[in-house]
Symmetry: C2
Subunit: 254 residues, 2 copies
């Protein structure tokens, strides 16, 4: 398995290359290639924005054109911001990454191609790609013509989102988990002790009224406590609270 | 359905608030709230980075503390970069957004809470939240202690990724589609005409050898052409190519 190359074509701003490298590092990508960068290289602004991902910049390949940059790649997907009048398959980021992941797992060399800040990718570059990717963004019907450019994602953001999908596609983190901690979930005996302590004091306070409803009321209270998933410490804390409340009551009555 | 509020606590850099607003606009979020911002407000750097999302900054609510900022919220999820020693449920961005989407669809007011650049959220703020979110990033075992800070996402990137998941959770874009275009898929008759034209000329050129294998060879060629999903124009272009190639052959023989 090799991770996809990130290939940036005709990039104008070092900041964007640096942000792309930073995003790559966050999500486990290392193979950065630049096609005909429109800036000084090496680039100080890129190094500054890369903050901790300078090694990715140092190892970046520089190529004269897309043909050279893509020479060893067996599956290439290109990001595009807007519609084109060619009939090409267009993928969501998630579907694109699933395809890349599958190819990478099969040992193929894959790549994601990103166009320059102004013009994006030209048709010759697009013709070398297997499919296109469009990142969904909110419709901006109210936006002025002059703001349309601002309505799309910048280069660093696009690399970030696809890198995130890449990591996510192999990420085994469960959707929901509770942090491991020194706290130990309460054993059933602790809970039963708590239930009985609470119910005894509630009974003493005349809480269960009318008496015929006591069974249902107890069941409701127990369900509520069980649902909260107490630790043993929390169960003890609640028993301490009950003791404190009861003590107050007797004081009040004294 | 109301979209979640984006609540930034103790933010120090206007750039990050601006980038957050820009990311919100991209993904259809509008309700920005700041808890005790540690910078001038309104903020010039924020306006600059918001580029086209200035209206979100202009309408941002400013609150003295989390209690005030979250007062009307019924489900609050907080982003955290690293482990904490409290026993709280931790969600992936996708699972978190699914929960927010469900609550929003049910008419509840929801929020995503983000901590400041240095210290993140404090324990009091965390105690007001229903669950935590951790964005998965690559393990960085080789990283130096001094670089660990750079290993996590910045505030603008965190808002971007959660905004992206929010839009995606309601996005009806099919995973794969072909752009609408004036190009029309070839009708079966066009393809059959192409097949027969090609096979006739291949036959004339002695391509089908040995003759016993012709049937299988024809089927393979047809399958290959069908798989490429030609338009009518492309089918015509290929027939033109065949004509041109055949013309050359006769020239060569002349």
């Amino acid at each position: 398995m090799t991770a996809p190359a990130i290939i940036l074509s005709h990039t104008q701003m070092g900041e964007n290359v640096g942000a792309a490298a930073r995003a790559m590092k966050n999500f486990g990508l290392t193979d950065l290639r630049l096609i005909a960068p429109r800036m000084e290289w090496p680039n100080d602004r890129a190094q500054m924005l890369a903050s901790g991902a300078g090694d990715i910049l140092d190892r970046a390949q520089i190529h004269a054109d897309a043909r050279a940059a893509l020479a060893d790649c067996q599956l290439v997907l290109a990001t595009t911001a807007r519609g084109r009048d060619v009939t090409r398959e267009v993928l969501t980021p998630e579907a694109a990454i699933a395809r890349l992941r599958q190819a990478s797992d099969a040992g193929l060399k894959t790549a994601l191609l990103f166009g320059g800040e102004r013009a994006g990718l030209d048709n010759d570059e697009i013709s070398l790609c297997d499919a296109l990717i469009t990142i969904p963004t909110a419709p901006l019907p109210q936006i002025k013509e002059s703001e349309i450019k601002a309505g799309s994602l910048n280069l660093g953001q696009a690399v970030l989102l696809l890198g995130y999908e890449w990591l996510k596609s192999a990420d085994a983190t469960p959707a929901s988990r509770t942090r491991p901690s020194i706290a130990v979930p309460a054993a059933r005996q602790d809970l039963v002790d708590l239930f009985e302590h609470l119910e005894r004091e509630l009974d003493a306070g005349g809480f269960f009224f009318p008496p015929a409803k006591k069974g249902a009321m107890v069941r409701n209270i127990r369900a509520m406590i069980l649902r909260s998933g107490l630790t043993d410490q929390q169960a003890r804390t609640i028993r301490g609270m009950i003791v404190a409340l009861v003590r107050n009551k007797y004081r009040g009555n004294a």
